[in-house]
Structure formats: C-alpha cells, structure tokens
C-alpha cells in the first residue's frame, strides 16, 4: 500500500533520516518505535508530506507521490488521515464543525451529508453527546478521539498517528488506544509512532525500530518483543520495561 524508497531528510546539519526503505501492506498496523530524536515522527511526517524529504520516493497504491504534480499529489494525500500528538482540533469550531469543515469544503458534501457522517463517527468514538462543545471544554482523551473521528470523516485508506497518547494524562491513554484498536479490527491500515509498548505488541502486527535516523530492526511484533535481533533493540527494550 505504501512503499518508501531511499528516503533522506536533513534539518540543517542534522541528518534526520538516512536511506529509509519501508513497505506497508494493506491491513498492516505498524508501530514506529525508538528513542527520542530517532526520526520516527519525521518519517511519519514525510510519508504524509508535512515535511518534504530531500530525496527518495514514496509510493501510495503504486503511485508516486510527487509534489510537483500538484493535483495528483493532493488527491493521493487525501487517502491518508493524520492524527497529531497535540490533537490540533480547530479551536474556534465546535466538535461537530471540526468534523464537518473538510467534508464540505474539500469533499464537496452537502451540510446534511457531512453532519450525518460526522455524527456517525462521533458515535463510534463515543462522543456524539459533545457535538456542540468547543475543544477547550474537552479532556485530552476526548480531544484525541474527536481528532480521530475528524480524520475518519474523510474516509482515508491509511491512518497515520504521531504519538497519539504522549500528551495525555495516564488515565486517558486507554480510551484512545481502544478506539485505535477498534479501527484496526475493522481492517484499517495504520502507521503509529508510539511509546505504548503494550499497544505495539498486542494491537500492532509489525514493529519498525529506528535510531539516529536509520531503521535498525524491522520485525513482527511478537518476534520483536520476545526475541529482538539487534543489540540496540535489546538495549532499548531493557530500558523501556521496568521490572
């Protein structure tokens, strides 16, 4: 579904990504893990095009994502939903308006259709009763669930999550992970930058471990957590799990 080839990215003198190659298949739930500054978020942002890679190619459903071909590029990007660490809900819009804006202005739906779809997804994330609330009145977990619903309203084929639970209070992490797990159960392809090892292990089917902008290890979740191949992954896991 997604193929990343020889991706490089530098920020000034910092080499953020180094010759990244990655294949994502339909239905995959891939966890990008690694220490901070390893390039996980940068890779995710490059896949969506929020950051422009220096070189390398990204293919979506076999089609090259080429920013120079604006119309085609915009069409391809619409197939991806993106969820941010800090939610980024529109502060001046209600929950329902957050979910409707792009449907009306981008997908060209009627307000009635857009509202029906929005309510459908808000129902799925358990927040239909908050339809008229402003984001400032929601908890972190609720904000993130609205953000997921907002992305789903555009019917993406692939969902990208950039540390979706890192900004949440501990007791709100689960409600967001539950929504993501449910999405996975319905066959959504997902790439998740996460520090939630439980999620990576139980919900994800594959793990990509990065360090210093390189992919160090790529493995099935089960293998990665029970029998990591690289010393760096072993070291990382021994530090992450406290026992």
């Amino acid at each position: 579904m997604i193929k990343v080839e020889h991706l490089d990215k530098t920020f000034g003198s910092l080499k953020a990504l180094h010759d990244i190659n990655l294949q994502v298949n339909q239905g995959d739930i891939i966890s990008l893990i690694g220490p901070s500054g390893s390039g996980k978020s940068t890779l995710l942002r490059c896949i969506h095009g929020l950051e422009k890679a220096d070189s390398g190619n990204i293919y979506l459903n076999g089609e090259l994502m080429n920013p120079a071909d604006k119309a085609k590029y915009a069409e391809l990007r619409k197939k991806m939903g993106f969820v941010f660490q800090h939610f980024n809900l529109f502060n001046n819009k209600t929950v329902l308006e957050n979910c409707m804006l792009a449907q009306i202005t981008v997908a060209g739906k009627s307000p009635q259709d857009a509202e029906a779809t929005a309510m459908d997804y808000l129902e799925k994330v358990g927040l239909s009763d908050k339809r008229d609330a402003y984001p400032s009145k929601l908890s972190g977990g609720q904000k993130q669930r609205v953000a997921i619903a907002r992305a789903l309203c555009m019917h993406p084929e692939l969902m990208l999550f950039d540390e979706p639970t890192s900004a949440l209070d501990p007791e709100m992490i689960k409600e967001v992970l539950e929504v993501m797990k449910e999405l996975g159960r319905h066959g959504m392809t997902m790439i998740v930058v996460t520090h939630e090892m439980g999620f990576a292990r139980k919900v994800g089917n594959r793990v990509v471990f990065l360090e210093n902008g390189r992919i160090i290890e790529e493995n099935t979740s089960e293998e990665f957590f029970t029998n990591p191949q690289s010393d760096r992954a072993k070291d990382f896991l021994s530090k992450v799990f406290y026992d």
């Binding site: 929020l50 809900l89 001046n92 804006l101």
Partner: protein
C-alpha cells in the same frame, strides 16, 4: 457657558461627534481590509509583494498623520491634474476617510501579521492533512483565531482613530473638533466648546472600551 449650551449648539456638536465616530468606524474597517491584504503581502514568498507591503507600512507609520491628511487633500489633486489635465475637487470627508484608512491600515498590517503568526502551527498542519485549501483555511480557521487574539490592540487602534479623526478638521471636515472651533468663533469663547468636545471624546472612548470588554468576554466561550 449657558449661552453655548443650548439644544441647537449641542446638536451641532453631537452631529460632529457622529461624523468623528463614522470616520473612525469606516477607517477601522477599510484599514482592516488593507491590513489583511498587506499582511498577506508581507508574509508571501514573493520578494516584490514583500517589498511593496513593507514600504507601505514604513511610509505610513513613519510620517506624521497630519501630513498624510494634507497630502491626500492638497497633494493628490495636483498629481491628478498633472496627469489628466482636469481639476479635481476633493471632498474633505472622503479624503479624510481615505487618509485615516491608509494610516490605520499600516498599523493594522503589523497587528494582523502578529495575530496570524500567533496562531498555533498545529492549526495550519491540521488543515493541510485534511486537504483544506489556503483560502478556506484563512477564512475559517486562521483569521478568526488571529482576530480574537488581537482584539485588545484593535480596540486601542479604534480609540486612536476616534481621537485622530480630529486631524480632519484641518481640511474643513465638520467633525467634533471643527464643530467646537466653529462655536468658539461664533461666541468668542473657545473654552466651553473645547471642554464639551473633550467630554464627548472621553464618553466615546470609554464606551468603546466597555463594549470591547463585553465582546471579549463573549468570544472567550471557546477558550
């Protein structure tokens, strides 16, 4: 004092105050339109647009407002006549409104620009990931939040405009200060009309601040 304070004279001054308020209102609105356009120019990647917008801001902020008013009233008709060969009779109200608008536009350019820069980058990125285009993003998400952030300085700007509209008296537009001067001449008494004018200006600016505080509280529901 009692002579001057008859209903007729009071109406005369209140009418002048009405014009002052109208001029300030028109100038804040037109200035806002100019400000949005120029802020877009300042923030655009085009060097030319950048330079034009910067030059505009620097010129109008860096020269006296009275000079600008006189230039629009006395200078622009000369330019017009040299180009077309036809004499132009400038209307002091329209000229005054233009001068105030362009002056305020320069200050509002910087206000709006800082307001836009103050909107969290995440709001822009959320629009990008949802495929929302630049115009919709600006209209629906960025500008509403930017304006909300700059309401306090915009109110100060409006209060400045109420006071600065008095400069238009210099080109014979019958606003509040000019009305006071007319009465002063008529009664050989400048003290009383000036005091009355000051009270009216103060009333206008205090009411403005009060209304602004209420509006701000109303808008903070989404905070």
């Amino acid at each position: 004092m009692l002579d001057i304070l008859n209903p007729e004279n009071l109406m005369f001054m209140l009418k002048g105050a009405g014009f002052s308020l109208l001029l300030a209102f028109g100038a804040i609105l037109f200035g806002c339109v100019i400000g949005v356009i120029m802020a877009a120019g300042k923030m655009s990647r085009s060097r030319l647009l950048n330079a034009l917008a910067s030059a505009y801001v620097e010129i109008f902020r860096g020269t006296p407002m009275l000079l600008q008013v006189l230039f629009f009233y006395l200078g622009v008709p000369v330019i017009y006549q040299r180009i077309t060969g036809v004499r132009m009779n400038a209307n002091p109200y329209i000229v005054g409104l233009l001068a105030l608008s362009f002056n305020s536009g320069a200050y509002q350019t910087e206000l709006i620009r800082s307001g836009i820069n103050g909107v969290d980058r995440g709001q822009w990125e959320a629009c990008e990931t949802l495929g929302i285009g630049y115009a919709t993003m600006m209209k629906e998400i960025i500008l509403p939040q930017a304006f909300k952030n700059i309401i306090p300085p915009l109110v100060s700007e409006f209060i400045m405009l109420i006071k600065d509209s008095s400069l238009i008296s210099s080109i014979g537009a019958l606003e509040l200060l000019y009305a006071a001067q007319v009465l002063g001449k008529k009664y050989y008494d400048y003290l009383d009309p000036l005091i009355i004018a000051a009270i009216i200006y103060l009333t206008l600016t205090l009411i403005t601040s009060w209304v602004a505080r209420r509006v701000e509280r109303r808008l903070s529901v989404s905070d």
